[in-house]
């Protein structure tokens, strides 16, 4: 790994999708900083990926965010930020506790925006960069997902405005909106829900973390693409998501 390799910070980098993004960006020549809450998983991922560096990150903690950016700065400064960290715990609107709603906004929306502020400053000093936000197909609306869809919709909105604001500084800002992707989080779905979900996906299969990683890698290097949301959902966003 060259010491001049562009540095990419991937939050949630030790999770199912995050780990695939880390591997994919490393393959395309990035020096990847793997940032996640789980210390052991961070270590495992960073050890497995050539040139990767691990850092424990709580995206809701200002000191933790600053430390992650400092790690990137020590390696030459972040040129790519992938906001992949997120949580999903939700309820129908009538049963949703505002405190739980707020916590989910902190992890999925406020933390990524705060980290983007720190990273964009570094990127601007170095002539530019790319921010890729992991939104979700839930931004289009999903039953029982008030808090999560709000956070992901908020992230899409911020992506659009930040693309306009940061474009003159050479920084692109885009979002990827995954649909149903096979991860540990989706392994526990009841069989009937799983069948109905898969039946509603035109390409006839669940997504894989690599599908999302490919989209992220593309947007990380696409300097003429900004402010866009790329759904990676097997076509479910244009089909009837409740057809099954």
């Amino acid at each position: 790994m060259s010491t001049h390799a562009p540095v990419a910070l991937v939050t949630g980098g030790a999770g199912g999708i995050g780990r695939a993004i880390v591997a994919r960006l490393a393959e395309s020549g990035h020096r990847v900083v793997v940032a996640d809450l789980d210390r052991e998983a961070v270590h495992d991922t960073a050890t497995a990926v050539p040139g990767a560096v691990g850092v424990v990150l709580d995206v809701t903690d200002p000191a933790s965010r600053t430390a992650a950016i400092r790690t990137c700065a020590d390696l030459g400064g972040p040129q790519v930020l992938v906001n992949c960290a997120g949580v999903l715990r939700d309820a129908r609107v009538a049963k949703l506790d505002p405190a739980d709603f707020r916590r989910l906004q902190e992890v999925n929306l406020l933390g990524p925006l705060a980290l983007t502020r720190l990273a964009a400053r570094e990127m601007a000093h170095r002539g530019g960069g790319a921010v890729v936000n992991l939104a979700s197909r839930a931004w289009l609306g999903t039953f029982g997902s008030t808090a999560y869809s709000t956070a992901k919709g908020g992230l899409v909105g911020a992506t659009r405005s930040l693309a306009i604001e940061l474009g003159p500084q050479g920084i692109t800002v885009n979002a990827v909106a995954p649909g149903f992707v096979e991860t540990a989080m989706t392994d526990g779905l009841p069989p009937e829900i799983r069948r109905r979900t898969l039946d509603a996906i035109p390409v006839g299969r669940a997504g894989r973390p690599d599908d999302v990683a490919d989209a992220v890698a593309y947007l990380a290097g696409a300097s003429y693409v900004t402010g866009q949301v790329l759904p990676v959902c097997g076509g479910r966003s244009v089909a009837d998501p409740y057809a099954a």
């Binding site: 609107v93 505002p98 929306l109 609306g141 008030t146 869809s149 899409v156 930040l162 306009i164 949301v229």
Partner: protein
């Protein structure tokens, strides 16, 4: 939080929220016929312009986090008072919905509420409650257009319209991708 109105407008729709568009919504409701069912307009508070560099942790927490929690509580209050046939309309400023420089915080709030409305439309359809979004230009709001749109959504025929987003801005967003 603005409470339900206590004059004839309350027969048309209760107004919840403390967004800058509340007076515009109230004025528009003067031109709307009382419907057969209960309706609420939620008008969330949206932060003003701020560059990303100025959005420190305190401002993000207050201007985005607090605004979204307040919007949720306003929506919960409205939904709790609605029964089958009820109507919920969220009124948002148009520019941050579409995106603008120094608009990250405002766009996060407006688009967060937009996605919340999309999910609510799906959730509440089984209860016979419609949820729609109207986008207005706060700098030059067309009260007449807002009244016409509200009249349609709150009318009997509005029962078949849910999960929709209508920009009442005389086509100022034509040629742009919508969120």
């Amino acid at each position: 939080m603005t409470g339900m109105l206590d004059d004839r407008r309350d027969l048309v729709a209760g107004v919840l929220g403390d967004g800058a568009l509340v007076p515009t919504v109230r004025e528009a409701l003067d031109g709307v016929s009382p419907g057969l069912t209960r309706a609420f307009c939620v008008v969330p508070r949206v932060p003003g312009p701020a560059s990303l560099g100025d959005l420190d942790d305190v401002r993000l927490d207050r201007e985005v986090g607090d605004a979204l929690v307040d919007a949720l509580e306003q929506v919960q209050r409205a939904v709790g008072a609605l029964t089958a046939g009820g109507r919920l309309v969220l009124v948002l400023p148009h520019a941050p919905l579409m995106g603008l420089a120094d608009g990250a915080a405002a766009s996060a709030v407006t688009n967060g509420v937009l996605s919340m409305a999309r999910t609510l439309a799906i959730e509440l359809a089984r209860d016979g409650i419609t949820v729609n979004v109207l986008a207005v230009d706060p700098a030059a709001p067309s009260v007449r257009a807002l009244a016409v749109a509200l009249d349609a959504l709150l009318s009997e025929g509005g029962a078949d319209v849910t999960g929709q987003e209508i920009s009442l801005t005389a086509g100022t967003d034509l040629g742009r991708l919508r969120p």
